[in-house]
């Protein structure tokens, strides 16, 4: 599903962000990515989302070597991913409906299909009935769930979440993680970057620990 094969990323001015990282994420597997800030968690996620390209090694996602993906093909790789961010990255001047619909709109779905799928996704995250509201009218936890609905609406094969619970209280954080587990059970792989060690041990999934760009442990 997702395979890192001796991957390194070096920034010209900041040195090695990742050094010789290898791991394999199975289909339908959920894993945590942890480490202190600056350990390379974000860099690793950026490589998968093709916001950056690795300096050495190979990343294979869904049978495709990402090194060989041209910049024109990047959008089609990203359509197989569901990205969730700490700051949600919602469009503040668009309704919840429009925000969640965006991945379908860019993929060229018809509006009947979009309407049906948006409602289904919002139902799944418990926000049905708030389609017409704007993000600012929602609480932090609700906004994060809108971001999750947007990430899963196009049936991604892999969900990447960068500190999805960074701005949430412990109770909401567990709720969000349980939501990820639900997607995992229907065959979606999930990779969550988080430094919340307490939460990780509570959930009990595989933990990938990065230290100064080096992968230290690849087990729970």
């Amino acid at each position: 599903m997702l395979k890192f094969d001796h991957v390194s990323k070096r920034y010209p001015d900041a040195g090695d962000a990742l050094l010789d990282v290898s791991f394999h994420l199975q289909q339908g597997e959920m894993a945590f990515l942890t480490g202190h800030s600056g350990a390379g968690k974000s860099t690793l996620l950026k490589l998968i989302a093709m916001m950056e390209r690795c300096s050495r090694g190979h990343i294979v996602f869904d049978g495709q070597n990402l090194n060989k993906v041209s910049s024109k093909q990047i959008p089609y790789i990203r359509r197989k991913l569901g990205l969730i961010f700490q700051d949600n990255k919602l469009l503040q001047d668009r309704t919840i409906f429009d925000n969640v619909a965006l991945p379908l709109v860019v993929s060229g779905f018809g509006h009947h299909e979009i309407a049906r799928k948006v409602r289904a996704a919002l139902d799944k995250v418990g926000l049905l009935g708030k389609e017409k509201k704007y993000p600012t009218a929602l609480s932090g936890g609700e906004q994060q769930r809108v971001g999750i609905a947007r990430a899963v609406i196009n049936k991604p094969q892999l969900i990447l979440a960068d500190e999805p619970t960074g701005n949430l209280d412990p109770e909401l954080s567990v709720e969000v993680m349980r939501l990820f587990e639900q997607f995992q059970t229907v065959g979606v792989s999930v990779l969550v970057a988080s430094h919340d060690v307490g939460l990780l041990t509570q959930m009990g999934h595989r933990v990938l620990k990065l230290e100064h760009g080096v992968l230290k442990t690849a087990s729970p």
């Binding site: 089609y76 990205l83 060229g108 018809g110 299909e113």
Partner: protein, 323 residues
């Protein structure tokens, strides 16, 4: 219900007509949403459109002015009159006889004999120097035979052979053709035309860059949106579509405003031009932009708008990447 998003895999079942419909809907949506976006900042939009419209109306107004003057020279061109000035030694009767003889030439449509006395009378009436002439003891004006060649002799060669013929007549002092100053005017017109082409090119570039700049600002304002769209898998074509339509609208709307400005300019000029026309026996009527010309102008300005937007998007969109 909880698993609807995943359990129902309809991605493969989307038919071609579904896709086409969605695609057309996307285009229609970008077309109108881009217009709506422009109207959300009416001040910025009208400033841009007015500046562009002024540039376009300058170019097209100049073009129209030349078209009008050209029409004027064409109407003068058709009166390729030849004047034969007779030697002072020739008497009035001999002059009239010569005119009668010339009248027999089938290649001419009109021959008018003007005697010395008639010439003096005309001169006194039209020149305003009448009293000055009274001082002179004798009439200094020569006899003139005015000749208008027939229409079959419109080409320069025929007229020149006719001129040579008249020059050989012993009674004729010299011949003069009114064509010469028309030729000079024509070569002046050629310079003007070339100037108009240069001016239009420059102003076209101005329109291109003005659109490009406003699209660049719009792109900067919507940087977040572009980044998020890229993150959820939007292609370049998808992202640039509304901006290209915005460029189209800027070009199209300023083209319409420019047409109105040109019509306004021409209506201001109408009165003096009609007076001029009257002085030339009403041989010419003021030209406005025709329907075809208006359509062509709108097509050109719209294309310039799209092109200006495209140029900016081509370079700037690559630089906006998700962080």
């Amino acid at each position: 219900m909880k698993n609807t998003v995943y359990s129902h895999n309809s991605r493969q079942s989307r038919s071609f007509t579904d896709k086409l419909q969605a695609y057309l809907y996307l285009h229609a949506h970008s077309l109108f949403s881009s217009l709506g976006r422009l109207f959300r900042n009416p001040f910025t939009m009208s400033m841009t459109i007015v500046v562009m419209a002024i540039a376009i109306s300058l170019a097209s107004g100049f073009y129209l002015l030349i078209a009008n003057v050209q029409q004027l020279t064409r109407s003068i061109e058709s009166s390729n009159q030849i004047s034969l000035f007779l030697k002072s030694s020739v008497g009035d009767r001999a002059g009239e006889q010569l005119a009668d003889e010339i009248r027999k030439n089938p290649r001419l449509q009109q021959v008018i004999f003007i005697s010395k006395a008639q010439a003096l009378k005309e001169f006194k009436t039209y020149s305003g120097f009448g009293e000055a002439l009274d001082v002179l003891e004798s009439n200094p004006l020569p006899m003139v035979i005015q000749i208008l060649p027939s229409h079959s002799l419109d080409d320069m060669q025929g007229i020149e052979s006719l001129l040579a013929e008249f020059n050989q007549l012993p009674q004729v002092d010299f011949t003069q053709m009114d064509m010469q100053w028309v030729e000079r005017l024509q070569s002046m017109m050629e310079i003007m035309q070339r100037g108009a082409a240069l001016l239009s090119t420059l102003l076209g570039f101005a329109v291109l860059f003005i659109t490009g700049n406003s699209i660049r600002l719009e792109l900067q304002n919507r940087c977040d949106e572009v980044q998020i769209a890229k993150l959820v898998g939007a292609t370049h074509a998808f992202i640039q579509r509304p901006f290209l339509y915005a460029g189209f609208w800027l070009g199209f709307l300023s083209g319409i405003l420019a047409c109105l400005l040109v019509a306004l300019m021409m209506s201001v000029l109408q009165q003096p031009i009609e007076r001029l026309s009257f002085l030339y026996d009403g041989a010419f009527h003021i030209l406005y932009l025709s329907f075809t010309e208006t359509m062509a102008l709108l097509a050109i300005t719209s294309s310039l708008g799209i092109l200006g937007a495209w140029g900016v998007l081509h370079y700037q969109l690559k630089q906006i990447n998700p962080e």
